[in-house]
């Protein structure tokens, strides 16, 4: 996309630009606006190399905190480019180029091979490829036999950098991607949760429909409530009776015999014959555990266990 746009060579002697194409321009910076360093480092990726870029320029540049770095691979070494964005912006504005009009920034060093001949920078200087390094030299130092060339969109490198906050943008690219990723993540979570709730509701409503079709008499909620009340009451009472009988049956063991049992709607009463006091004691403990009332039958080891329902 970028190399369809006009590529403008930016150098300190450039004249004021009267008009910039409406679709914007790409700019190619001369070494007047950046500092380079070539290093053969044992790193595989550009982002790893970029991390160590600041340390490479320590002592070489002033105001390191204002510097931005661009790294690219060249044969078997890494080329580190340090540039001061604010300085470039200020310069462009003095030449009549608004930041919003600049699409991408490139560095002459990226296309060193394309400079097979000098490129004139105004009337006194020229940009030349000096043993693989772009250099600004006085025009008088040029070989008169070499015919200068002009740069065009074909010089545009593949990768470049953009001004952060180009135009009136208030969010940087990094912030944009981070925020967008967070919002999208939450959006996905909400969609998944929503569809889960929706799915559950649908399954429940289908199940409800199927049950009501099988039991048409339960379609009215009043009928349902009245049936539920009626049967719940019976269920609770009858379960209690059966639980009591079950508990009492656990009190029959060696030495303890059930002699009588009465269960009606309101109460229960059981009498156990115990062969000795120890058995009676054990039985009493079991009854106490079940929170039943116990009383001893006079002149015997027998025990009466009772309670209400």
């Amino acid at each position: 996309m970028e190399n369809t746009k006009e590529l403008m060579l930016i150098h300190s002697q450039m004249p004021h630009v009267s008009s910039v194409p409406a679709e914007g321009v790409n700019i190619l910076l001369t070494p007047q606006f950046y500092t380079i360093k070539r290093e053969a480092l044992p790193v595989k990726y550009a982002y790893q190399a970029k991390r160590i870029a600041p340390s490479l320029f320590e002592g070489l540049l002033e105001n390191l905190e204002h510097q931005k770095y661009f790294v690219f691979e060249e044969e078997e070494q890494w080329v580190f480019v340090a540039y001061d964005v604010e300085k470039i912006k200020t310069f462009l504005q003095t030449k009549g180029i608004e930041i919003g009009q600049v699409f991408k920034i490139f560095f002459a060093e990226q296309v060193v091979a394309s400079f097979h001949a000098p490129v004139l920078l105004g009337e006194q200087e020229a940009l030349v490829n000096l043993n693989g390094t772009m250099t600004v030299v006085p025009q008088i130092a040029l070989n008169p036999d070499e015919k200068p060339i002009r740069i065009n969109a074909d010089f545009t490198p593949k990768k470049g950098v953009s001004f952060e906050g180009r135009g009136k943008s208030m969010v940087s690219s990094n912030e944009t991607y981070t925020l967008a990723a967070i919002f999208l993540l939450f959006a996905v979570i909400y969609f998944v949760e929503g569809s889960r709730y929706g799915g559950e509701s649908e399954v429940q409503s289908q199940e409800m429909q199927a049950l009501l079709e099988n039991y048409p008499s339960l379609q009215s909620s009043y009928t349902r409530q009245s049936i539920a009340d009626k049967y719940k009451k019976i269920d609770n009472k009858e379960r209690k009776k059966r639980d009591v009988i079950k508990s009492l049956s656990h009190m029959i063991f060696k030495g303890s015999t059930l002699t009588s049992l009465l269960v009606d709607d309101k109460k229960f009463q059981a009498q156990f014959a115990c062969k000795d006091t120890n058995t009676a004691k054990k039985l009493k403990e079991l009854a106490k555990k079940e929170k039943f009332n116990t009383s001893k039958i006079a002149h015997s080891n027998d025990l009466k266990i009772e309670g209400t329902l």
């Binding site: 959006a187 909400y190 349902r224 049936i227 009465l262």
Partner: protein, 132 residues
């Protein structure tokens, strides 16, 4: 077009935020839809009513109650059933017969009005009154 590109970052963030809000609205809609109808509790209630009805309104209960009569020798049983009401007495039951009878009664979906067990010597006498 250039203006749009100038605000590319804001547009991306805005669209992502819009999507987030739509997703949130979608989820809230589904959640509130579920709460409004109380579908879950209504379904639970319906299932409970059906289960209770199946147990306590079972039409086969009469048949099952009648089987109590055949559990012991006819000479040991006095049986009186009218429609859905039973009054029965079982006498001279040994331990095993008593156990079997009580377990069967406990497993029947009937309202026990009276269950009386009395030991006399080595045998048991049982009186049972129930309805369903």
């Amino acid at each position: 077009m250039n203006q749009l590109k100038a605000y590319k970052n804001e547009i991306i963030v805005g669209l992502a935020l819009l999507l987030l809000l739509i997703a949130f609205g979608y989820k809230q809609g589904k959640v509130s839809g579920q709460t409004d109808t109380s579908a879950s509790s209504e379904l639970q209630e319906l299932k409970e009513v059906i289960a209770l009805k199946k147990v306590w309104g079972d039409k086969k209960t009469t048949k099952r109650v009648d089987k109590l009569k055949t559990m012991v020798a006819p000479s040991k049983v006095k049986w009186s059933r009218t429609s859905k009401k039973l009054s029965a007495s079982f006498s001279n039951l040994n331990n095993q017969e008593l156990n079997r009878l009580i377990i069967r009664v406990m497993n029947l979906a009937v309202k026990i009005q009276k269950l009386e067990v009395k030991k006399s010597g080595a045998s048991y006498h049982v009186e049972l009154k129930c309805k369903w």
